[in-house]
Symmetry: C2
Subunit: 158 residues, 2 copies
């Protein structure tokens, strides 16, 4: 299990105070995953988000042209990165598969835990949701650049 200090330094818990972190720590589940282990699977239902505190994972999205049966790699995530949060926010199925590239340790926070934080400490809940939204926004900015690049290419080749 990681320290409160480590978690406060990660984007997900940025700005969350000591007392609030003390209340959140017991909610987090600690998972160790061997290299090659699948942590979340595309199209599964999912009710937890994960913070990586050891190792790296790859994000795979199914695609008919992929060599890997789980899909094409669209991202690599490392210590401090979060995954699985989109499903917590929009209640849809997992958008991609996440597989450990090496031995990985993650902390899991479930939907039920988030509800508990909402009920007991709304300012902290709001802060975490804003941190998540900021992370989604950061990813969208990166992908928008990609979209401009490739959508343009497609139009040219039509």
């Amino acid at each position: 299990m990681q320290t409160i200090k480590f978690l406060q330094d990660q984007p997900l818990f940025g700005g969350v105070g000591e007392a609030a972190m003390q209340a959140i720590m017991p909610l987090l589940r600690d998972l160790d995953v061997p290299a090659g282990g699948v942590i979340v699977k595309e199209d599964d239902e999912g009710d937890s988000l994960y913070v990586i505190y050891r190792g790296a994972v790859e994000v795979l999205k199914s695609d008919p042209d992929a060599d890997d049966p789980l899909g094409k790699r669209i991202a690599v995530l490392k210590v401090g990165d979060v995954f699985g949060e989109m499903e917590l926010i929009d209640m849809q199925r997992r958008s991609a598969t996440v597989r450990a590239m090496e031995p990985v340790s993650v902390l899991a926070l479930s939907n039920g835990d988030m509800l508990r934080i909402y009920e007991s400490d709304m300012p902290t809940f709001t802060l975490i949701v804003m941190n998540l939204a900021r992370e989604l926004s950061r990813r969208l900015r990166n992908l928008d650049t990609l979209a401009a690049h490739y959508l343009g290419r497609d139009r040219e080749s039509e």
Copy 2:
């Protein structure tokens, strides 16, 4: 100006009750933009989000290959859609330009207004932030599919 009922039906204000909407309505600024008018400009600083209630806009992202000096079109947004919210969440500059494709009317909500909602009605503020996060999540899901498609193509052509 639009009715409370209209706003409650839009994703941004989904779940916000009548009394809370009554308090939000006076904060919203009503803007009419002629066809071709630029509402937000890429790289500008921005402190408002916008909800479209009439007309359609195009989202343009600067790109060296674009014919249009403002960039390539990466999306079209219509009545009920929101734009400008990423800057409100992450305090970065505008990620893209938004231009009216026809006469457009929008309601603008500023950062200061959001702070006022936070201070006076935290549950409503939290609901709006969750609605925004859900919208970002929806867009990311669409772009992830695009990313898998094109990143695969790039690898093949290397």
